[in-house]
């Protein structure tokens, strides 16, 4: 069944704050094989002018993907996650990277839902800011729900 296009334009209430931990950043950096000092060593990060270890540029997906559970897990929308593959991804930073100690709040919006060649395409936008309201990064994800095998 195609995804309900009336979900487009819908915005959800802000998520509970996600506290970015130093060890989580290190764990993520290790998982992508990134051993650059600013991801692991607080002193190295401070020497570059950051408050604490820096998260790699794709790290916000950890926070935004959990947040978009609001959309993905909505039974009314009815996404079958096993049939979902990632189409596009974009991050735009407001002026600084995510660093350990950030407490991040996400606001999710469905920007678009379309159907093409039997597949459903859903584009979500997640605006990520600190609990005190400083914009940090915006993430756009286009997900493709593959059509059922004929």
């Amino acid at each position: 069944m195609p995804l309900d296009p009336s979900f487009a334009g819908r915005t959800w209430p802000p998520t509970e704050p996600y506290l970015v931990g130093r060890e989580k950043i290190r764990e993520f950096a290790r998982a992508i094989g990134a051993d650059d000092a600013e991801y692991h060593d607080p002193a190295a990060a401070r020497a570059l002018g950051y408050a604490d270890v820096v998260a790699p540029p794709t790290f916000p997906i950890v926070v935004t993907m959990a947040a978009t559970g609001q959309i993905i897990d909505d039974p009314e929308l009815g996404i079958d996650y096993a049939r979902v593959v990632h189409g596009d991804q974009k991050f735009e930073y407001a002026g600084r990277p995510v660093v350990a100690g950030d407490s991040l709040v996400c606001v999710n919006t469905v920007e678009e839902i379309i159907q093409r060649s039997g597949h459903d395409f859903i584009t979500t936008r997640t605006d990520v800011s600190t609990e005190s309201g400083e914009p940090v990064v915006t993430a756009w994800s286009k997900l493709v729900q593959r059509g059922q095998e004929q």
């Binding site: 570059l48 540029p57 794709t58 997906i61 950890v62 189409g87 991050f91 735009e92």
Partner: protein, 131 residues
């Protein structure tokens, strides 16, 4: 600053996908079960698109010299990266070309990422601020 990122080759194995699943929280079955991946029409387990994007990010940030300077990063996942259940797994190669350096200190890079010679990312660009 040179106009090209030297090509980087990254090996990707099932172990890497398991580790990435745990670190990122993306436990989609298509990244660890051949049985369930095949069921939805995939050739078998495929890498997380975000894992491939992270490898492209590594190539950029290592070259930029500071992982915190990225202001924009976007990709299209043009084809999946199948990761066979072997010791060797597969390889992703990432290279890039500087497309633009603006007066206000931004460098925009067009990224190429391939697996077995085929592009796995298209429309892949990263912009970072010069320190």
């Amino acid at each position: 600053m040179n106009g090209e990122l030297p090509p980087q080759t990254y090996r990707v194995t099932r172990t890497d996908l398991i580790r990435y699943a745990g670190a990122s929280g993306d436990f989609n079955v298509i990244h660890w079960s051949d049985r369930l991946a095949s069921k939805v029409g995939l050739p078998g387990v495929i890498a997380h698109g975000m894992f491939t994007m992270a490898l492209a990010g590594r190539a950029v940030t290592t070259w930029a010299g500071d992982g915190g300077t990225v202001v924009q990063f976007s990709v299209r996942f043009s084809r999946p990266v199948p990761v066979p259940d072997t010791d060797e797994g597969t390889e992703v190669e990432v290279s890039g070309v500087v497309k633009e350096v603006t007066d206000d200190g931004l460098t925009r890079i067009a990224i190429t990422a391939t697996c077995h010679g085929e592009k796995v990312l298209t429309l892949a660009t990263a912009t970072f601020r010069k320190r």
